[in-house]
């Protein structure tokens, strides 16, 4: 027995390509560590600074509660308005992008490209672009959320359309119905539950995005947060962060309970 198994090596040398990838990865990783100037000394000082920040942040100062509430309200406005338009525009785009509903290959490729571009560019960069275009304020935030939502929702809608069972749409086609009627009569109803779930995820995502968009001046609570941090008013900042935390967790709970009911 042992003679036979000795012909099967316990270890095998990895393929040359695997060697190259492993060595390359290790080199990049070490160079990155070195470039970040990571030293025990800096980490120690960082911990001390963090301790001081926390010391100054506690207790959170809610004296500007009206301003915080107002900014949070604006953040929710940005998120909800942006995500509503985003989901709305995602439906036609997803129809054009899905292989079973798209009129032809050229349109499909263009639609997929539009979706891919909206997804690949991060929301903060969209916000920077729209701040240049429409100026500071919530409108830039709304436009950024629209683009970010399209990249997410249109992709998942179109994937859902492609998974829909063919039978019902074939049955409607066989009655002589036009293509758009078949899509609206069979494919959309069949995808409805999944689209609702995707849209709710988009809202959760949009609220988180809308919080940070203010950092680049696109309206909402991020503006307050960045001002408080820059003025070293850490107790104000702590209050804002707590409000954000409560709002995001609250909405996630709400959306997951809606989702359970729909599916």
């Amino acid at each position: 027995m042992s003679d036979q198994t000795s012909t099967i090596p316990r270890f095998r040398s990895p393929a040359p390509l695997a060697w190259i990838i492993a060595v390359g990865f290790l080199a990049f990783f070490l160079q990155g560590l070195w470039a970040a100037d990571m030293s025990l000394d800096r980490l120690q000082r960082g911990a001390v600074n963090l301790g001081r920040f926390l010391g100054q942040a506690m207790p959170p100062d809610f004296s500007n509660w009206y301003g915080i509430a107002d900014a949070m309200w604006e953040t929710l406005n940005i998120a909800i308005v942006g995500v509503t338009f985003g989901c709305f525009f995602s439906i036609p785009l997803a129809i054009l992008a899905a292989s079973n509903t798209s009129p032809n290959r050229v349109v499909r490729t263009i639609a997929r490209l539009v979706i891919a571009v909206s997804r690949t560019i991060p929301d903060l960069i969209w916000a920077l672009i729209f701040v240049v275009a429409v100026g500071l304020g919530p409108l830039a935030g709304i436009l950024a959320i629209i683009m970010d939502t399209i990249g997410f929702a249109a992709r998942f809608y179109s994937e859902r359309f492609e998974e829909v069972q063919k039978g019902p749409s074939e049955a409607l086609t066989s009655t002589g119905a036009a293509r758009l009627s078949v899509i609206m009569g069979a494919i959309l109803p069949e995808s409805f539950a999944s689209m609702t779930a995707t849209s709710l995820f988009s809202v959760e995502k949009a609220i988180r995005s809308a919080v940070t968009l203010g950092l680049v001046g696109a309206g909402g609570i991020g503006v307050e947060l960045s001002t408080a941090m820059r003025l070293f008013r850490y107790d104000d900042a702590a209050a804002i962060i707590l409000v954000v935390l409560v709002a995001v967790i609250g909405f996630e709970q709400l959306s997951s309970s809606i989702r359970k009911r729909v599916i």
């Binding site: 019902p168 049955a171 409607l172 066989s174 009655t175 002589g176 069949e190």
Partner: protein, 266 residues
């Protein structure tokens, strides 16, 4: 009984999937008011033939015409016009599962109303269409289930809703692709009784695939037997020799069997 001009005329129809020729020159016709049963083993090309008749499967050559209107090679608008007069009943019912039975029946007129779906959604449909949809459901004995979704109905009830949708369409030809293959024998017989009764009452023509030889002989005026993509039998039900029907299911009944034999010989 049969009108000299047939409702459905299929001539030398060829359909291929890739390199595999499924239908190899199918020719037959269905007369007005005639009920034809299509028999054949699994894979003999029955479903492909049904799909090609409706234009759902692209044909390589040959012609299908409904009331003299060509379907193969037709542009989109005339094809849709021809499809309106053809009621299709599927093995898997193919109702939209999220919508009520009533809404599914209303969809039967989707192809006939301007703006399509925008004129046959329950909330906006014309009064007479809604009345007729309920009437169709009543004809299949399911008026009381109008607001149920298909998932809340049994298989036999779902197929009856699909028959009501077909009836709503007011077709001149009914194409039924193994309408009872997913049902148990009792429900299957009830559905087949209902389907044939409606077809007779309305004076429709019917092309129906079945797997049961006894049912074929009981219901059909005429039997067409398909074997390996060709018509092997086309005869009135009364004059048919049972041994010939059995032959449909023996030996090389599928197109790929015949192709295999050919390539082996080559």
């Amino acid at each position: 009984m049969t009108d000299p001009a047939p409702v459905l005329d299929v001539s030398d129809l060829h359909v291929s999937y890739g390199d595999l020729a499924i239908l190899r020159g199918v020719t037959f016709s269905v007369g007005r008011g005639e009920g034809v049963v299509l028999l054949g083993a699994n894979g003999s090309g029955k479903s492909t033939l049904m799909r090609a008749i409706n234009g759902l499967a692209p044909a390589a050559s040959g012609q299908v015409s409904l009331d003299g209107v060509p379907i193969i090679g037709a542009r989109r608008a005339p094809l849709r016009k021809a499809r309106r007069r053809m009621g299709y009943v599927f093995q898997q019912f193919n109702l939209v599962p999220q919508l009520s039975a009533f809404q599914n029946v209303l969809f039967g007129v989707m192809g006939q109303r301007p703006l399509g779906i925008l004129n046959c959604l329950n909330s906006v449909a014309r009064g007479e269409d809604r009345e007729r949809a309920l009437d169709c459901l009543d004809r299949v004995g399911l008026a009381d289930r109008a607001q149920h979704r298909p998932t809340e109905l049994s298989g036999g009830q779902q197929q009856r809703v699909a028959i009501a949708r077909m009836l709503m369409q007011q077709p001149s030809l009914v194409v039924a692709d193994e309408p009872i293959a997913s049902l148990d024998p009792k429900a299957g017989r009830e559905v087949l009784d209902l389907l044939w009764r409606i077809v007779d009452d309305e004076g429709l023509s019917m092309l129906c695939t079945l797997h049961q030889l006894d049912l074929a002989q009981e219901y059909g005026d005429r039997v067409i037997g398909l074997k390996a993509g060709k018509v092997l039998i086309d005869a009135d039900t009364d004059s048919i020799d049972p041994a010939r029907l059995d032959a449909l299911y023996e030996g090389a009944s599928r197109p790929e069997d015949a192709t295999g034999a050919k390539t082996a010989a080559a």
